[in-house]
């Protein structure tokens, strides 16, 4: 009960903070006129929103974990992308509010009806920070490298380029990407950091050197230095004038510099923000929210799109080879309680296998509603009867299910322990097997698990094919079928957005209906910012953008 109120209060607080900022600016700007809530700015000087942003200053940001490098195309973790995303632009951008793909380095594009040929018309005024211009050959060099040897260490980009045939240079500013098979997800993929366009020199540079900082992009910031496990310094790119329309600020970044420091302890990040040693911090844990807000700061949150945190069952081994048992687990979990008890207001209970911020998400909360009686009924029906210790048995075997997980997300252990209690209430023994990421990978290959716990961030529903197709990662270890696999394959070949959304909705219903996943909760990013910091924004993949960010200058 109280949790609902709390959540609402937080939402209002964030809303109030975001409304207050432009209002204060308006008051400060004598010539200010117009509506601050009007759409995105088109020019840095003509709107009151941005006219009063004060340029200058250094933003000190505390990262919650060590980046794996600074090459936009090779990195995959959130903290790495926080840095790398600022250095490079992509062909397109994705509006986080609507999921729509909008122009960025490409002003427009044509897609063939069979979704195999994508022609991009590039801006002619873009230069990289080494002074070289963006041309069609640059795009070709980037994509050829990613489809070739670089792909081995750029797995996300390589997965987006599945079926890549070639890139044709039509003229200096027109480029055509050709695939051997329909590829509906490619347009969204061009908006991601993994397919950001880097300079010709970078495209052919050594992958390891690129990770360590040999990266030249066209983004609003330029890498000044990067020290592994320590952090990075990026500085404003002078003359930047090709932001996407999603960006409020169409000119150069306001900040002179951003200092990223790796601070692994969450309490130190929050304390550092409260004592003005940082201006913004990543990964604010529930217990640190009060300290951040108490010091006049606020916590910005956004749900990660993609596959929610799930227990994905191995359907080849008992007891989870029985769909009724899997289904019983799905309704025995009280997702609202997971979020209310061990997570924070920033997180939402899963209402599908996709997170609610994913384009194509379908609300299946009715199928996932907590119903212990139904769970008991399903398990009784499947022949599992309660033993003396409360755990169900059948033919002398206990109803015991293990879950392998790596503690990558700090809240995972607590979530799984509570899920363990919830399942025990209906007579299922959930055994937690915490593994290092390394061991987890080995277990996944061997298939020695009942359920596998993870999430993946992607702002396109094609992530379902990657994770659930029998020809994909196939955590379920299931055989090819004639229902789900065709749905997952045909969405990739469907151009019409409504028709594709329909296929994706059916796929979600099939996955939840067959309990090929037991969704738990939606991951959210939680960023603490000091009271004098404005404009820190999330992109469609819920990663940070600093182009609009500014600090109140005295």
């Amino acid at each position: 009960m109280t949790s609902t109120v709390d959540r609402r209060r937080t939402r209002y607080r964030v809303l109030a903070a975001s409304l207050l900022a432009p209002a204060l600016l308006l008051a400060a700007c004598s010539s200010g006129s117009g509506d601050p809530a009007a759409g995105p700015a088109t020019s840095a000087t003509s709107t009151p929103d941005t006219a009063t942003a004060t340029p200058g200053g250094t933003l000190r940001f505390a990262l919650g974990a060590s980046p794996s490098g600074v090459d936009p195309q090779q990195v995959g973790s959130n903290v790495s992308i926080y840095i790398a995303r600022q250095l490079a632009d992509s062909l397109t951008d994705q509006d986080p509010a609507t999921g729509e793909i909008v122009p960025w380095l490409a002003t427009s594009w044509d897609v063939s009806d069979d979704l195999t040929t994508f022609t991009f018309h590039l801006r002619d005024d873009v230069t990289f920070s080494d002074g070289t211009p963006l041309t069609a050959t640059t795009v070709k060099a980037n994509l050829d490298a990613l489809a070739g040897p670089l792909g081995a260490s750029a797995p996300l980009a390589a997965s987006y380029l599945g079926g890549y045939t070639e890139t044709r240079v039509d003229d200096e500013h027109t480029v055509t990407v050709v695939f051997g098979a329909p590829n509906a997800q490619f347009l969204q993929a061009t908006s991601t950091v993994s397919l950001a366009i880097l300079s010709d020199a970078t495209a052919t540079a050594d992958p390891a050197a690129r990770l360590q900082g040999e990266v030249v992009g066209s983004g609003p910031f330029v890498l000044e230095s990067y020290t592994q496990d320590q952090g990075a310094v990026i500085t404003r790119r002078d003359g930047y004038a090709w932001a996407s329309e999603v960006s409020q600020n169409q000119g150069e970044a306001y900040l002179d510099q951003i200092d990223f420091t790796v601070v692994p302890e969450s309490g130190v990040r929050a304390g550092g923000l409260a004592s003005d040693q940082f201006d913004a911090v990543g990964d604010v844990l529930p217990q640190d929210v009060a300290q951040v807000e108490g010091a006049g700061g606020s916590v910005l949150t956004r749900t990660n799109p993609g596959v929610t945190f799930v227990l994905q069952p191995n359907v080849t081994v008992a007891p989870l080879d029985d769909p009724d048992v899997r289904q019983a687990l799905n309704v025995a979990i009280d997702r609202q309680q997971l979020v209310d008890t061990v997570l924070s207001d920033a997180f939402k209970p899963a209402t599908s296998v996709l997170a609610s911020t994913t384009p194509g998400y379908t609300d299946l909360s009715d199928d996932l509603a907590f119903d212990a009686a139904k769970a008991e009924q399903l398990l009784d029906g499947a022949g599992w009867t309660k033993g003396t210790d409360g755990i169900r048995e059948k033919d002398g075997a206990k109803l015991s299910v293990d879950v392998v997980y790596a503690p990558l997300f700090t809240g995972s252990q607590a979530v799984l322990e509570l899920a363990q209690q919830q399942l025990r209430a209906v007579g299922v023994d959930l055994v937690l097997r915490q593994l290092t990421p390394a061991d987890q990978q080995a277990v996944l290959t061997s298939g020695d698990y009942d359920t596998y716990y993870y999430n993946v961030t992607r702002a396109d529903a094609d992530i379902l094919r990657t994770q659930f197709s029998s020809a994909g990662r196939n955590v379920n270890k299931r055989a090819a079928d004639d229902v789900l696999d065709p749905l997952l394959d045909s969405q990739l070949a469907t151009a019409d957005p409504a028709a594709r959304a329909d296929l994706v909705a059916q796929a979600q219903q099939e996955i939840v209906g067959e309990a090929l996943a037991i969704p738990l909760f939606e991951l959210a990013q939680s960023i603490g910012v000091a009271g004098d910091v404005h404009g820190v924004a999330f992109d469609a993949s819920s990663r940070l953008l600093f182009h609009d960010a500014w600090i109140e200058q005295p």
Partner: protein, 317 residues
Amino acid sequence: MSAYVLRRVAAAVVVLLAAFTVTFAVLYLLPSDPASIMLDAGTGGGGVDPAQAEALRERLGLDQSPAEQYVAALGRTATGDLGTSISSGAPVATLIAQALPETAKLAGFALLLAVAGGAGLASLATWTRSPRLRGLLLALPPLGVAVPTFWVGLVLLQLLSFRLPVFPAVGNQGFASLVLPAVTLAVPLSATIAQVLAQGMRAAWGAAYVETALAKGATRTRVQLRHVTRNAALPSLTLLGVLVGNLLAGAVVVETVFSRQGFGRLVQAAVTTQDIPVVLGLVLVAALVFVVVNLLVDLAYPLLDPRTAVTSYARSL
């Protein structure tokens, strides 16, 4: 004496080789492999394509048999080349050269504080004639050993960085950033030193030579400094050699809490990503430090206690 040093150097080489081999074997016995870990991190946890993993293994030379890789790594190391990090591609020597001075500063300062604190506490506790003060002082070392290092670090941060902005909470910039981490690292160390030293000093106070010195009119302070400390210091000196290992281990926790660059952070990161060349390099350096420190400790014994200088004594006969 030179034969003694030569023998010690030969023993050191054996220790280093053993450390290298055991580390290599352990890293190989772990399931999974660096290429899969790297790719999994590259997809943000989204999974690994086996064909991609194979391609990456080939590029990193991980597709050879363990024996081939061991021989290659050993040969490379013997010529002074520690190789390059698998996860980042940076030369291992560079990574260690960046990290080691920072940890040396931290460990050196912590050791200084620990010796001063431990010796001071032990001396005061045995010198004083007030049983109440002695009891209080002798209760401190068990407490110092018992409290977890990270907790001490977080409390110090809360008090002296967040509440009172005296010291910076993170980083390696300047002496100010060294104080809190060094104090944190020194707490369990000084407690151990104090405990051992106090025991030795209590025994020394009961010895006949102390009675003689007091009978000859020496003050308690003079007896404490001239006779008791010197005689009680020997076990602590031995302990010091072992404690250097604790310092390196403690650096993992302290450098994480205080977000400092250094040996400990590098160890933690390299082990997590199963970065074999980096872990091997770090183990070699740690083993080397350990060997050298213990050699220095052994060589320092005769300075404190001429009776232990067996070799030189025999030669002078």
